[in-house]
Subunit: 412 residues, 2 copies
């Protein structure tokens, strides 16, 4: 490993927020404060968008006390973006690095973000710009490769379990057929977490769990709902938003068309309600966990919060030791007790890869998640963080002191 590299540090957040992604930011910043070779500490406003627009803020000027509060504030204190970085953006990004003497770059995000970080590093290296780039994983989807689990997932899982248990009480009162739509366009990790809500296998919800890893057959679905309804007089099913039929088509796309001949849009939940109310003489309804499953801070998992801080902190520490082109990983020690360790993987191993629910967790004969999944998910989701006071929960904002621009405005 090489020695001390002097220069400024830049950090950005990308993609869908989580309840704990600010903990990673704060972990990285607090570690950077310990390394005098990292001169100024810059934040990119809205991730790569902010870098392209040279919209940087100087985090050194923020009031020191704010970081402890930002750490437990959901979502991204620096803003985020959904920008897919293309070839044409890369030169501008490296130009901004050079103009602001940035030698350390940390990007908090999912697989697309790590891919971007990798591309930027490659160009910088080819131009002889000595710098260190480390990726910090984050996604409630839990679908990054090379890790046991992703920061953000445990808190989302805790929210899903809590919401399922609370909604179930409502379901017991009026006994409709009820769907809970969870995020997950390609993978079922979030919906699968609801398995943690079921204690009594005879009556507790969720009675059915539908994930994209198991093809969705409508006839079978109706039969499964009917079976539970006949047995309990009510049904609560948790569904991933991205279910697919055996032919690969999305179930979210209704067969109904609008006045212009377009396929009717709308949530999976509404679609399933329509199917069931057409086929059974029951009342059906649906809940959408929506943005709350990644922002409802009362459900933060202490485990998740702590690990998220660590991956941020370790990214900066590794960079200070000369590491570059890597993402910090979260691994699990074998054994009964849950122990998380942290490793490193090449950024290119993560780029554009998706990790699906393991086969062993997805029941094929019925719409369910195997009990063995509980050993996986519970340690990630347990633990609490926010202490509820009598006041409404309240979150701070960074002041975001702007860094003076040094380049002409960006014309994409």
């Amino acid at each position: 490993m090489s020695g001390t590299l002097k220069g400024n540090m830049l950090i950005g957040q990308s993609g869908g927020p989580t309840m704990v992604v600010n903990a990673s930011l704060v972990g990285a910043i607090e570690e950077a404060f310990r390394h005098p070779e990292m001169g100024r500490i810059f934040g990119a406003v809205n991730g790569m968008e902010g870098i392209l627009g040279e919209n940087l803020v100087d985090l050194t000027h923020e009031e020191r006390g704010i970081w402890e509060r930002i750490r437990v504030t959901p979502s991204t204190a620096l803003g985020s973006c959904r920008l897919k970085i293309k070839e044409k953006h890369l030169q501008r990004i490296v130009d901004v690095f050079k103009a602001h003497e940035i030698r350390y770059f940390f990007y908090i995000g999912g697989n697309d973000s790590q891919h971007s970080a990798h591309q930027v590093l490659q160009l910088a290296e080819s131009e002889g710009w000595d710098m260190r780039v480390i990726g910090i994983p984050k996604t409630i989807d839990n679908d990054l490769p090379e890790v046991d689990h992703c920061p953000g997932y445990g808190s989302a899982a805790r929210f899903v379990v809590t919401a399922t248990r609370c909604i179930e009480k409502d379901n017991e009162a009026l006994h409709p057929v009820q769907f809970i739509e969870a995020m997950g366009r390609d993978t079922g990790w979030i919906a699968a977490a609801s398995r943690g809500a079921r204690e009594d296998p005879e009556q507790d919800a969720p009675h059915l769990i539908y994930v994209p890893e198991r093809p969705f057959e409508e006839d079978k679905f109706v039969e499964e709902v009917k079976e539970v309804h006949a047995r309990l007089g009510r049904v609560l099913a948790v569904v991933s938003e991205g279910l697919r039929r055996p032919d690969g088509s999305q179930v979210t796309a209704s067969k109904r068309v609008d006045a212009f001949g377009h396929q009717q849009l709308g949530g999976m939940g509404q679609y399933l309600v329509d199917v069931i109310e057409d086929k059974m003489d029951v009342k059906a309804r649906w809940d959408k966990l929506g943005t709350m499953q990644r922002s409802f801070a009362y459900c933060m998992s202490e485990t998740d919060l702590g690990e998220s801080y660590e991956v941020g902190r370790l990214a900066v520490w590794h960079a200070s030791q000369g590491v570059t082109g890597k993402m910090v990983t979260l691994l699990r020690e074998p054994g009964e007790e849950y122990v998380c360790t942290f490793g490193l993987t090449d950024l290119e191993n993560v780029a554009e890869q998706t990790r699906y629910l393991d086969d062993k967790y997805v029941c094929q004969d019925r719409a369910d998640i195997d009990e063995s999944f509980l050993d996986y998910v519970e340690p990630l989701a347990l633990g609490r963080r926010l202490t509820l006071g009598p006041e409404f929960v309240s979150f701070p904002r960074l002041k975001r002191y702007p860094v003076e621009r040094k380049l002409p405005a960006y014309e994409p």
Copy 2:
């Protein structure tokens, strides 16, 4: 007031659940334990449905320790119903009262439920069956007349404020136009509660609040969204599910039709997203608070929980003193400090009446709720109840020991 009336006591829960409606149940039951003249304590399973079906349970047999846990369990431990009681049902109900020697009947519910209780009492009296009937108010909608506020509303309001603040953090990350759909088919009390989330009037959400009390004009709506978007680069609006156009039509009914020529169904939120994405070059999305706003127990308000217990307890106490044909009311003392007192009103004053948001709270010139509403709503929503442990929240169920039937099966 008359003296001691000996006989059994029956209690039921009706309508949409709330986070704290079990507190009213437990308050009534614990008070009834103190009155030996109330012999056995029966619960009606699913409210009036259970009375018609003679589906009663003996609550005296439940383990004593369960009541403390049921008190903080959301939704209805006895089940609920949406049955609108008609003339033809009344005789059967009175027959069940007579068969089970029921002299005390308590019904926890909204205006329809209080109407039913009133009708039942009238028939019993006309047949010379001496009994005492007291209504216990409950509704997150907060739309009962004769009260300052309704048990259940404060906790729903707390959830709405919390959800708005958490979702806002997400909104700040990716800055779309975002809608939060709150319950409220006829009144805007629940959506109005989101006003409590706004501290900084310059930038805090909600930026716009749409309630049924203010006619919804689509052009104005688009202009209002555009104005906020131009100013902040993001928009978070809270909307009641029951908005109406100036001609009285529901906004939830889209103008789009399906392949069969039917109006497209679907949430208000999706409809507003469609309107905005058609008219502006922005990404829009929506969250539906759904069942969580009445069941997410982490957001229970201690004030609401305590008052809900009291109205249940007082209903039974008043009945023991000879009162009948009344509903317990919640009033507010004039003055700076929030003080809730409890009164009584005739059941018939409540039946089929709706209380709308006061004019003074609804801004007419813009989509907003006046600041003065904060003095109204905050005391109801503040205070916490559940202490979050490291484990998932977990709720008990009653055993529901059935009461032997004494009548032939009911044939409606």
